[in-house]
């Protein structure tokens, strides 16, 4: 536990914000993740923020757009960018962008129809581009998702990471809970969501619903953040207090009820998330084995 005297500003947390208010001034000096409305804002904003306000990622969302039609700026360079796009589009057009994308620090998450999104993510990953699909509580979790999980964890062919599975795998240590919500930047150890009034929450949904912390980004200290994060990180316990049906699922540790909805059958999410759990454990074991020192003859 932090001591009350510890009032130094925390520099390990990133503030997730929308670029709809003067964040350059009001969040100056903080580590940021910025949601932008226009891809053209990325380079301009990055130049304006400079090194004093480090940005961990710029996030651009276009629910209907494709990678095919997106203006990819070759000067993005190393700027970390996450693109949420509906689909890949015509591959013969995208193919010309592949080499450029490989030289950039871009992750592409597909949000369109699930089977299409899985295929698109697999194509990009196979070309060495960090990609993924957006899972939501309403995701049908079709066999395409299982195929994508299989490709990400078991395929012998080299490929880039596929989200949210790779991030979940990186965070899962066997004795902690993870969930697809990690992709929504729900991780109290790393992210705080902040709005124009400088109000804070550990999830975007909480922020939008006004379910905010009792301190702002202006007076946040390590102590305040740690204490609030500790309370937030115990939210899973409420599922057990109520003996929620999801707590009886073998995959709860990699889901935390992410797919729960009233009246919805849990049969499919149990099946898919159980396979994901096995795949993540396979990956962990593989990494552990690879960490062994090679025999020196």
């Amino acid at each position: 536990m932090s001591t009350p005297q510890n009032n130094t500003p925390r520099n390990t947390i990133s503030y997730v914000c929308d670029y709809q208010w003067p964040i350059e001034v009001e969040l100056k000096g903080k580590s940021l993740i910025v949601n932008v409305n226009h891809v053209g804002d990325i380079r301009r904003l990055n130049d304006a923020l400079g090194t004093e306000t480090p940005v961990q990622a710029y996030i651009y969302r276009d629910a209907y757009g494709s990678l095919e039609t997106l203006d990819v700026d070759p000067d993005w360079g190393d700027i970390p960018i996450v693109l949420y796009l509906n689909r890949l589009g015509q591959f013969r057009t995208v193919a010309h962008k592949v080499e450029m994308l490989k030289g950039l620090n871009v992750t592409v998450i597909f949000t369109g129809e699930e089977s299409r999104a899985c295929v698109d993510a697999q194509i990009l990953a196979s070309l060495g581009i960090h990609s993924g699909i957006k899972l939501t509580p309403d995701s049908p979790l079709s066999d395409s998702v299982l195929d994508l999980i299989t490709y990400n964890f078991y395929s012998q062919m080299p490929h880039a990471d596929i989200e949210p599975f790779s991030t979940m795998s990186r965070h899962y240590k066997g004795e902690n809970y993870v969930s697809p919500s990690l992709l929504d930047l729900e991780n109290p150890a790393r992210y705080l969501h902040v709005d124009a009034k400088h109000r804070l929450a550990f999830t975007r949904d909480d922020l939008l619903a006004g379910n905010v912390l009792d301190f702002t980004s202006d007076d946040a200290t390590d102590t305040l953040i740690d204490d609030a994060a500790q309370i937030f990180s115990r939210r899973w316990q409420q599922w057990f207090v109520e003996s929620h049906p999801c707590t009886f699922c073998p995959a709860f540790r990699v889901c935390k009820g992410f797919f729960h909805a009233p009246e919805k059958s849990t049969e499919r999410c149990t099946e898919v998330m159980s396979e994901l759990l096995e795949a993540i454990e396979f990956e962990r074991k593989k990494c552990e084995n690879h960490s062994k020192k090679p025999c020196q003859l």
Binding site: M1, F240, V241, E242, F248, P250, F252, R253
Partner: protein
């Protein structure tokens, strides 16, 4: 090492559907005078036996129902009356955690306790607070306790009691428990319902065959995933024994009960908690008898001699003798009114090992190196 189950109070704030003691007894709590006497007796014994250590397990009821003052006083007696022997005490506590607070934790830690044994029940209505058996309130308080323990870097493990209420859902229960404690760290037990129990308790009872099959259903899931949740008993313990890595049996399976002793709130001592429940193997009051005399009680021979009798009677030729030893003698007495009988619980162990553990693992119990009665 003498192990004293110190039931300083019988009072409990929880109400469990299967709990026999709640129905049977008016709760009593030890007096300050008797607490002092107990520590004088502990010290006296350790001074007489300089090679020995002593484990004291605070038990109940719910130990916290005795009040913080009792444990603070115990700590004071430990530091004063037992100043010369203090280092040879090992304390433990079994609590439902729903009443624990920072003061209790500070006191327990000062006794050297760094982990607390508890129990847990996911099915609402089986365990709860008060007459209404409020399970939501119980669980909420339980998690408050867990959070406090973890904030104090204290460990915890729990037992789960299998009742008729969960007989048809072994995997759901197992997954719930492993979701609660992700790498395991719990022990699965059958509910113990005595012949004279209240109706409600009787309805929770399960047969030996039912428990074996319940364990078997869980084991089928545990075995291929044992790296995910390694610390689930009795599976982990059986596996150790079958692979020659066994490091001790629980009191119910050991060849003898050793220097195990129940100490109740009125100072009465007995072989163990079960013995005290049934008023058998009572060894006298600590106020009038030193521990050495209590541990030397002739009745203990009834238990100790069992390991010589059973291999030629009830357990003759049993391939599981080395892992069971006829089971708990008190259970045997409960079923047959004779300590020199095997416990009825043997059946569930045998069934589980033969029907599930051995075929699934492909393991066979190592043969004892020499024929002996251990």
């Amino acid at each position: 090492m003498p192990t004293i189950i110190f039931k300083a109070t019988e009072a409990c704030n929880a109400n469990c559907v299967y709990c026999d003691v709640v129905h049977r007894k008016k709760p009593r709590t030890i007096s300050p005078e008797l607490l002092r006497t107990a520590f004088e007796r502990f010290n006296e014994y350790l001074l007489e036996h300089p090679e020995e250590e002593m484990q004291i397990i605070w038990h109940g009821g719910e130990p916290c129902m005795a009040g913080l003052k009792l444990y603070q006083t115990a700590l004071e007696y430990l530091n004063t009356i037992c100043a010369a022997t203090r280092d040879r005490f090992k304390f433990a506590v079994q609590s439902n955690l729903t009443m624990i607070n920072q003061d209790f934790i500070d006191t327990f830690k000062a006794m050297g306790i760094d982990s607390i044994g508890t129990s847990y029940e996911p099915i609402h209505g089986v365990r709860g607070i008060g007459k209404k058996r409020d399970s939501v309130l119980y669980n909420k308080k339980f998690f408050d306790g867990i959070n406090l323990l973890e904030a104090n870097n204290m460990g915890w493990g729990f037992i789960y009691v299998v009742t008729r209420q969960v007989l048809d859902r072994p995997l759901e229960i197992f997954h719930h428990l492993t979701n609660l404690k992700l790498s395991g760290g719990f022990d699965l037990h059958p509910v113990l319902v005595y012949d004279d129990a209240a109706d409600e308790s009787m309805e929770s009872g399960i047969t030996q065959e039912e428990f074996a099959d319940w364990l078997g259903a869980v084991f089928k899931e545990w075995w291929p995933n044992r790296e995910r949740y390694p610390h689930v008993d009795p599976f982990a313990t059986y596996l150790k024994f079958y692979t020659g890595k066994g490091d001790g049996l629980g009191c119910c399976d050991a060849p003898t009960c050793g220097l195990h002793l129940y100490l109740g709130p009125d100072g009465e001592t007995a072989q163990c908690g079960r013995a005290a429940d049934w008023d058998i193997l009572m060894y006298g009051n600590i106020a009038s008898k030193p521990l050495s005399e209590i541990f030397a009680d002739e009745q203990r021979a009834l238990i100790d001699n069992r390991k010589n009798v059973l291999p030629d009677t009830d357990c003759k030729g049993c391939e599981y003798w080395s892992i069971c030893h006829g089971g708990c003698p008190l259970d045997a007495y409960n079923g047959h009114k004779d300590f020199n009988r095997r416990s009825d619980q043997c059946l569930s162990k045998k069934l589980f090992l033969k029907k599930y553990f051995e075929p699934i693992t492909g393991l066979k119990l190592p043969k004892p190196q020499a024929q002996s009665h251990e």
